[in-house]
């Protein structure tokens, strides 16, 4: 796990202690697949400046690496060059490194103590993959876990195809400009996160979004079901090393979606299930489906306040806890759809809207690319 002198001297790292935090979240998608720079998403999250406290900000962009869209794009934090060497030794024995470079950044006064940041476009070595008896995605997940757990000072914070996560310690708008998201990248979908932790040493890896392959999660809230969810999901090979809500939520969604092959709507009915009394009032068919999901996955119900934006290739899902204990607003304008903790985060970049609404607790809002959209 990544660490440097500064963090070692101060408070415990993320993963050594569980840190509750409040936050701001925001997202924009162009359902026509038109790509946009990160300027709008930065403007959106910047409007909600007071919902963050400068101890973490981050973004996920989809469709940003069209030239390498068949490669897994790994973003890495290094504490020192030894960990970089160890990681690269590991990478070349497991992947073909199609391209690699230091992450392009812009020096900003307010963003300090940055780690060494590198980017790699990778293709699994076919022989290695074959011998592992894993499917390709599982192989990549294993490699990510191995680096994060075993190479001291190295941390993979993004590992999807044609998408990337950019995050660090600072206010989100500063982090966005630090990574030149407003100039260097264009994607059809963006999510953003500003963090308000109640106690953190300020570790770059602890900022959000949290990602696994092309899945990314930004989350505002503090879930009360954390340990029930964690202890359940760890049965299936996940390891919650960061002890954050976002990490466990990402694993829960990954398990339900990728492993159990549930639909997004069904995933929502597991993690933010309707109350039994509400289910009782539904039509026979709906009731049967929802009862089944609650009975089969009771330990993946997530309680306590949360608003999450789940990003994946081709779309976004917004979801609140079932009591709606955190604010979240959705809006649409033409092909563009917006999700934000507060309405101001949307109006700042799209003053005129076709529709704006607050989704009810437990009601997923899914925006996906229109059919035929080319990404």
């Amino acid at each position: 796990m990544y660490s440097n002198e500064l963090t070692l001297k101060s408070a415990p790292l993320e993963g050594e202690v569980r840190i509750p935090s409040g936050c701001a979240v925001s997202a924009i998608i162009d359902r026509g697949g038109r790509r946009m720079t990160g300027a709008d998403i930065i403007a959106s999250i910047a409007t909600m400046h007071d919902r963050s406290n400068g101890l973490g900000g981050g973004f996920a962009g989809y469709g940003i690496y069209p030239d390498y869209k068949e490669c897994y794009a790994f973003h890495l934090f290094y504490g020192d060059f030894q960990s970089k060497k160890a990681t690269e030794d590991f990478l070349i024995t497991h992947f073909e490194i199609v391209y690699s470079s230091e992450m392009k950044t812009r020096k900003i006064k307010k963003v300090a103590n940055e780690p060494i940041i590198y980017r790699y476009f990778l293709s699994p070595l076919s022989k290695r993959l074959e011998n592992s008896l894993l499917d390709e995605e599982q192989y990549v997940v294993r490699c990510v876990n191995k680096i994060n757990a075993e190479i001291d000072g190295a941390f993979v914070f993004s590992s999807g195809k044609n998408m990337g996560i950019f995050k660090g310690v600072g206010f989100p708008e500063d982090i966005g400009r630090y990574y030149l998201l407003d100039e260097e990248y264009a994607g059809y979908s963006w999510t953003a996160h500003g963090r308000y932790p109640t106690n953190t040493p300020g570790w770059w890896g602890g900022a959000h979004p949290f990602g696994l392959l092309d899945y990314s999660v930004v989350h505002n809230g503090e879930i009360s079901s954390y340990d029930a969810n964690r202890r359940y999901i760890e049965m299936f090979g996940y390891k919650c090393t960061l002890q954050t809500d976002t990490e466990v939520i990402t694993y829960v969604i990954d398990y339900l979606l990728r492993v159990k092959k549930l639909t997004l709507g069904e995933v929502a009915k597991v993690i933010s299930a309707s109350f039994w009394s509400t289910i009782g009032e539904k039509s026979d068919e709906e009731r049967a489906q929802e009862e089944y999901l609650r009975k089969a996955f009771p330990s993946l119900l997530i309680t306590g306040p949360f608003s999450i934006i789940f990003g994946f290739t081709g779309g976004l899902m917004a979801l609140n806890d079932r009591l709606k204990l955190r604010s979240m607003v959705c809006a649409e304008r033409g092909d563009r759809a917006y999700i934000s903790s507060e309405e101001c985060g949307i109006r700042a970049v799209a003053p005129d809207l076709d529709r704006i609404f607050s989704p009810a607790g437990g009601q997923p809002v899914v925006y996906t690319l229109r059919e035929g959209a080319d990404i």
Partner: protein, 502 residues
């Protein structure tokens, strides 16, 4: 040699208040109270008193109290009066000592050393008076492969599930060890509460088949009262491998409690001690258990969950893992404090381990092996309050069994003399004159009240933690902290010490 053992209690009667109505005399099945004609007053033979408080409770002028006798042996920290008396008794009788109810000794109660969390500032506590607060649980196997029909709809392929409105059930207490009226009260309360009660190993009285949807029937080593209709009448079937109060031995119902009705229900002779064998004679290993589980499932068309109940012993985690892989739907773990109608004193007081530790280890082991989903876990022995339920669920239990608490609701005062069959409260007796003292109409309401009250308290505590469904509390050990526990105890329980943050 007829050794005199001094009375443990003293019956104190306020002569100024006593009206010599002789109610105490009529109520005491132990024959403590009598009327002295010559003096015109009531007298008491305290040597017969078991301190059940029946006379105290019914005395219309509150003239009675029972106090610990001041008659003491010479003080000795090694040889307590109880130890000495037991030796006197055994020297007299040459017999094994019998006891009733759970282990009363001063051993650690881990529930009392665990504290619960609450939300402050960073997330909101939830008010159960204003928001839904769900305590419904479904017990049964959850480890299914997702299947869909041709329209893509999910197929309900879950094995049979037991629905409980609150994570509490009445634990196994047989007809024979307790009375007909006690059973009726339990059955009716379970029905009204939407939970289940458990027949124990005494069979199911024909009058109670109508409560089948709320009944767990037990198959124990003596196979008392087990037949096809019995299995089919129930909502679930429990195979009793062990009991917390007496791990390693079978049940014991004294002949005095085997009335004609009990004999018919159990399918055993009247008036003769019913001693079920220590093992099931068709189960000498785990693979044999699997065969019995599937025999029972075959007999009931795979429509009913099968519970396997074991006593909490040293290797309970490995045992539970074996059970989880043997087709059981639910594992019930009974702690060493669990109650009993009759058990050898030495076994009750010295065998087994606390249920809190057993539960923590079983839950953790099943998770580590990735099979926690294959079974639900129910714990008992002893769960004394809603707080114990909350802590047990947070440690990893799906639901709790309560036995002693339910009997207390019916009037039991824990005099621990069930094996005599002379229960003055009409609970642990078959004497018709005593049984009729327990009015099932009142008894069932008291049970409903108790569980309803606990459910409210569970909701309050959940709400405080910001949890609005019991499912999100299950195994949520970060919500617990130990206080005054050593490193080993904390490690076994899988919780942090109070003062350590999240």
């Amino acid at each position: 040699m007829n050794t005199y053992i001094p009375a443990e209690f003293e019956v104190v009667r306020n002569a100024g208040l006593c009206t010599v109505c002789r109610a105490c005399e009529r109520q005491c099945s132990n024959g403590v109270h009598s009327y002295d004609k010559e003096r015109g007053t009531m007298v008491a033979d305290a040597t017969k008193c078991v301190n059940c408080h029946r006379c105290v409770c019914i005395c219309p002028t509150h003239a009675l109290k029972i106090v610990r006798s001041g008659d003491v042996y010479r003080t000795n920290s090694n040889w307590s009066a109880q130890t000495m008396n037991e030796i006197f008794r055994q020297a007299n009788s040459g017999g094994v000592l019998l006891s009733s109810m759970g282990n009363p000794n001063d051993l650690p109660v881990y529930f009392d050393r665990i504290l619960v969390n609450a939300s402050q500032v960073t997330n909101p506590p939830i008010d159960p008076l204003r928001e839904p607060m769900e305590t419904v649980v479904y017990l049964g196997k959850k480890d299914v492969v997702i299947e869909r029909d041709e329209h893509g709809r999910l197929i309900d392929n879950l094995p049979p599930q037991l629905r409980l409105n609150t994570p509490i059930m009445f634990s196994a207490m047989s007809y024979g060890s307790i009375s007909y009226n006690a059973h009726e009260a339990l059955a009716r309360a379970a029905e009204e509460l939407g939970i289940l009660y458990n027949t124990g190993e005494g069979g199911l009285h024909k009058d109670f088949y109508k409560y089948g949807k709320n009944t767990i029937v037990q198959v124990a080593s003596g196979r008392f009262g087990v037949h096809e209709d019995y299995l089919r009448a129930a909502a679930a079937i429990e195979i009793k491998m062990g009991q917390g109060a007496k791990p390693g031995i079978g049940g014991h119902l004294p002949g005095a409690k085997i009335s004609e009705d009990v004999s018919r229900t159990r399918m055993i002779p009247q008036g003769v001690d019913a001693i079920s064998p220590a093992p099931h004679h068709d189960i000498y290993s785990i693979e044999d258990l699997r065969q019995l589980i599937y025999s029972v499932k075959e007999a009931t068309d795979y429509k009913k969950p099968v519970i396997v109940k074991v006593a909490a012993v040293h290797n309970v985690a490995a045992v539970a893992s074996g059970i989880a892989r043997s087709g059981a739907d639910i594992i019930a773990i009974d702690g060493f404090r669990g109650g009993t109608g009759a058990a050898p004193t030495r076994i009750r007081d010295n065998v087994g381990i606390p249920v809190e530790l057993a539960l923590a280890q079983v839950d953790e082991r099943l998770r580590r092996e990735g099979i926690r989903d294959a079974v639900s876990i129910v714990v008992g022995g002893s769960v004394r309050s809603s707080a114990d339920v909350v802590k047990a669920v947070a440690l990893g239990a799906d639901a709790c069994y309560i036995g002693t608490a339910a009997l207390l609701a019916l009037g039991c005062h824990l005099c621990r003399s069930c094996y005599t069959g002379k229960c003055n409260w009409g609970i642990a007796t078959q004497r018709p004159d005593l049984v009729k003292r327990l009015n099932p109409d009142i008894g069932y309401k008291r049970l409903v009240n108790l569980v309803t009250a606990w459910n409210h308290e569970i909701q309050e505590m959940m709400g405080g933690m910001g949890i609005n469904s019991i499912e999100a509390l299950r195994g949520n050990r970060l919500m617990l902290r130990g206080v005054g526990l050593n490193e080993t105890e904390l490690r076994i329980l899988g919780i942090h010490h109070a003062g350590e943050s999240m």
